[in-house]
Structures are given as structure tokens and as C-alpha cells.
């Protein structure tokens, strides 16, 4: 008895979104499955706040779902979803910045969150536990990224952590490739300065 092996092609993002529009919840679930970690990681690197990142990642998917009918397929879905995530992350960063600027009590009473956002280069005393050293270094890198100006932060994360192309980054951030290249270069220089103790 001859058996037929049917090769199941994975559906493209566009197809999944179209299926979502017809009420196919599983299609949307697949889309979420494809991007949830990427988006969470991206927002986490932007904000350096895991809970906030998860919340914003969910909000990103909520917006994708609700605006599915308005999605234009002339650019990649990944560009579209990253654009939403970037806008949400930048908006959150600005909100926090405003709160820090406005808060007068902040001068006297430093909250844990604010403390977390400060970037303090570590002292280089050797620690006994290598795991702790690694963890501290990773934490310092994360904080250093999170303290970059937002216009440098997003392109750097998209390029050096997410590995996106210049073209895609330009499309996500709605600017031209030349600007993106120069911002990434500047971001790297700034990051090197911040992490000089580790380089």
C-alpha cells in the first residue's frame, strides 16, 4: 500500500493574519507563538523591565488583533509588529522619563525602580562566584543599553541583539538606512564607553 507523504507548508504571517480576520483563533495563536518571545525580548531590552515588557508585548498583540483589518501587506508582518512594539516601548520610556522629571520627591526618595534604571559601573573587585560575576555583567550590559538615548537604543537592539537588517530597521523606525547606520555606529560607541570596564 503506497503511502502519500504530504508536506505541510507552514503558513506565512500574512496568511495567518488573514485567517485571523475570518475568525480563525488558532491562526492568531500561531502568530503569537511565532513572535511572543522576540517581541518580549525586544521590549525587555528597550525597557529593562521584564514585567513591563510582558505587559507591553501583550498590548502589542492586542493591537495587532484589533487592527488586523487595517494591516497593509506591502511590508513584512515582522516589520509591522516590531513597529507597534517599538512605539509602545518608546512611549513607555518617555512616560517613565516624564515621571522622573516631574517627581520632586525623587530627589529625596529614590524608588527601587529608579535605582534599577541608573547605570553604575561596577567595582572590579573579583567575586568568588563566577556565576555571580556573569550575572552582574549581564545585568550591567542590560542597564547600559537601557540608559542609551532612545533614538540610539532601538536601532542598536534591533541590529546587534535581534540581528535585523538595516533595511528592516529603517522600515520599523520609519527613517532611512543612512540615519540608521549612523545611529547604530553612535550607539555602539556610547555603549563601549559605558561598558569600558568590561571590554
Amino acid at each position: 500500500m503506497a503511502s502519500t507523504v504530504m508536506e505541510v507548508q507552514p503558513r506565512s504571517d500574512h496568511m495567518l493574519l488573514e485567517a485571523t480576520l475570518t475568525g480563525d483563533e488558532a491562526a492568531f495563536g500561531e502568530l503569537v507563538g511565532r513572535y511572543r518571545n522576540q517581541i518580549t525580548n525586544f521590549i525587555y531590552r528597550m525597557t529593562n523591565d521584564y514585567d513591563g515588557a510582558v505587559d507591553l508585548a501583550q498590548e502589542t498583540f492586542v493591537r495587532v488583533y484589533r487592527a488586523a483589518d487595517r494591516y497593509k501587506s506591502n511590508f513584512a508582518f515582522s516589520t509591522y509588529i516590531y513597529r507597534i512594539a517599538t512605539n509602545l516601548a518608546i512611549s513607555e520610556i518617555r512616560k517613565r522619563k516624564r515621571r522622573r522629571l516631574v517627581s520632586l520627591t525623587g530627589f529625596f526618595l529614590e524608588t527601587e525602580r529608579e535605582k534599577d534604571q541608573e547605570f553604575n559601573p561596577p567595582d572590579l573587585k573579583p567575586l568568588q562566584d563566577a556565576v555571580l560575576v556573569d550575572a552582574e555583567r549581564r545585568s550591567a550590559i542590560g542597564k547600559a543599553i537601557a540608559t542609551l538615548p532612545e533614538k540610539y537604543r532601538a536601532p542598536l537592539i534591533l541590529r546587534d541583539i535581534d540581528g535585523r537588517s538595516y533595511e528592516e530597521i529603517a522600515s520599523i523606525l520609519r527613517t532611512n538606512e543612512g540615519t540608521i547606520k549612523s545611529r547604530i555606529s553612535r550607539a555602539r560607541a556610547l555603549l563601549r564607553e559605558k561598558l569600558i570596564a568590561y571590554i
Partner: protein, 272 residues
């Protein structure tokens, strides 16, 4: 190929050590490019230490719950409460301070308001928007026959709408003045941002006439809509009522009918 090409390539590659062999070879002989490669490699190495974070296991479940819950439109009160909750503690005194300043400003404004403005604010006198083309033409009518007109050349009252442009001047002023000889003593009794287009009665004893003595006592319900009446003292101390008619005259500031009972000729602004 020059240094710039190599540098661009080093900058562009995600992993600088994965650059083309000729680029890596170039860095062996070029100090600047080598330095760039070293920096890029070090940073790349640091960044690759970052372990990607994953979404929590219940991400989808929470997302579905969020989607099913929908986003009911929050009421104004709810929005305000959310906003207040998010507001930093130190913002409250700032907002309080702003409210105090606003209240102070309002009280000062109230104190400075003339009587007509107060009446208008109280809803007794309502004006029409954009009154730059309105003027009050003097049209005297004696309602109390025994009293002579007040156009005796020494004392008279006129009310004119005036359109002026100026930074510190409202466009429409209602001017009251007394005419003494050839000079007109005027005083703006109020700044009419909205021209008076409804009947208004001025009632004021002008024993010791002062332009600032005008006050509005109310709206006469029986007057035609185009009449503005003013009660002024005539000879013998008796009050008389005169009607002033409002007319539209476009951007021209010349009155369209001569004043018959008042000596003199209005100037281009309608002031005697």
C-alpha cells in the same frame, strides 16, 4: 578597496569576525581598522552574553483573557482616577498651585470687570459674535417732551461702537464720553468683545458727570431689538431717555447718518 570600505563592512556585519577574509587580512596591516575590529568584536562578545528572555508560559492564556475581556470604554471618572493613580506624588502640589493661580486670576479679573461685563457675564446682556462691523449711531428721540435735547454743546453723551485693531486693545469698544466744547472727554466704559445687539438701558444720574459713571441696570424688554436706550440728564435735572440705533456698516467706521441733534460732525471713528 580602501579603508572606508573595510570599515563599513566591519560596522555592518553582525559578527565582525565573520567578515570576509580580505577584510580580516586588511586589519592585520591597518592599525585603525584593526582597532575598530577589536572594539566591534569586544562589544559583540559582550552583547552575545545576553541571554534572550522568553515570554512567560501563560502569555497566550493571559493574552486571550485580555482579548476576551475587550476594552470597555472607560468613563471619564475612571480615566481621571487612572490618571491620578499614575501621577507622581509630587505632581499633586503642582496641580494645586496651578488651580490656586487660576482661581486668583479669575478673582482679579472679576474685580476688574466693568458693570456691563458683569451683567453680560451674568447672562443679562448677550452679544453677538464678531461685532467688528457694528456701530451705534446716535439717533436721539425725546421721550419726555418737556426736556430739551442735551445737545447743547457743552454736555452730551454719546455711545459709539468702535472698531480698532491693536495689540493691546480689543477690537470693539463701547465708548461713552461727554462733549465739552470741542474736546471730547471719552472713556471706555467697557471693552465690548461682543457687541451689544440687544436693547440695553443705561440708567445713571449724571449729576457730576463722569464718563465712568455709566452702569447698566438691565434690559428693557419692550424695546425693539435695534434700540439701545440711554437715560441721561437733561435740563432741569430731569432724566431723559434717548435711543441709539445699531447699524451694520461693514468695515467702514464712518457713521451712515448724520447726527441731527448734536452739534458737530463725527470723525472717521464716529466720535464727536
Amino acid at each position: 578597496m580602501n579603508c572606508k570600505t573595510f570599515r563599513d563592512e566591519i560596522e555592518a556585519t553582525n559578527d565582525p569576525n565573520a567578515a570576509r577574509p580580505e577584510t580580516l587580512a586588511h586589519t592585520e596591516i591597518c592599525g585603525e581598522c584593526y582597532s575598530l575590529l577589536k572594539d566591534r568584536t569586544a562589544l559583540h562578545s559582550l552583547l552575545s552574553e545576553l541571554t534572550p528572555v522568553a515570554a512567560p508560559y501563560d502569555f497566550e492564556w493571559r493574552l486571550r483573557a485580555r482579548l476576551q475581556a475587550g476594552s470597555p470604554r472607560a468613563s471619564g471618572l475612571e480615566k481621571a482616577l487612572v490618571w491620578l493613580r499614575r501621577m507622581p506624588t509630587a505632581t499633586a502640589p503642582i496641580i494645586l498651585l496651578m488651580l490656586i493661580v487660576a482661581l486668583g486670576g479669575y478673582l482679579v479679573q472679576q474685580r476688574d470687570l466693568g458693570p456691563q461685563a458683569k451683567l453680560e457675564q451674568a447672562g443679562m446682556i448677550r452679544g453677538k459674535e464678531d461685532s467688528s462691523s457694528l456701530a451705534f449711531v446716535r439717533e436721539w428721540s425725546k421721550e419726555q417732551a418737556p426736556n430739551p435735547p442735551i445737545s447743547d454743546g457743552t454736555k452730551s453723551v454719546q455711545l459709539v461702537g468702535e472698531s480698532r485693531a491693536g495689540r493691546n486693545r480689543p477690537k470693539n469698544n463701547l465708548i461713552a464720553g461727554s462733549r465739552k466744547s470741542d474736546s471730547l472727554v471719552t472713556s471706555t466704559i467697557r471693552h465690548v468683545d461682543k457687541a451689544v445687539t440687544r436693547p440695553v438701558v443705561f440708567e445713571k444720574q449724571f449729576e457730576a458727570f463722569s464718563p465712568n459713571d455709566f452702569s447698566f441696570s438691565g434690559i428693557a424688554p419692550d424695546l425693539s431689538s435695534n434700540d439701545l436706550k440711554v437715560r441721561i440728564p437733561g435740563a432741569g435735572g430731569l432724566m431723559q431717555t434717548v435711543s441709539l440705533r445699531t447699524v451694520t456698516f461693514g468695515s467702514q467706521q464712518i457713521l451712515d447718518r448724520p447726527a441731527t441733534l448734536v452739534a458737530g460732525t463725527p470723525n472717521t471713528q464716529g466720535i464727536w
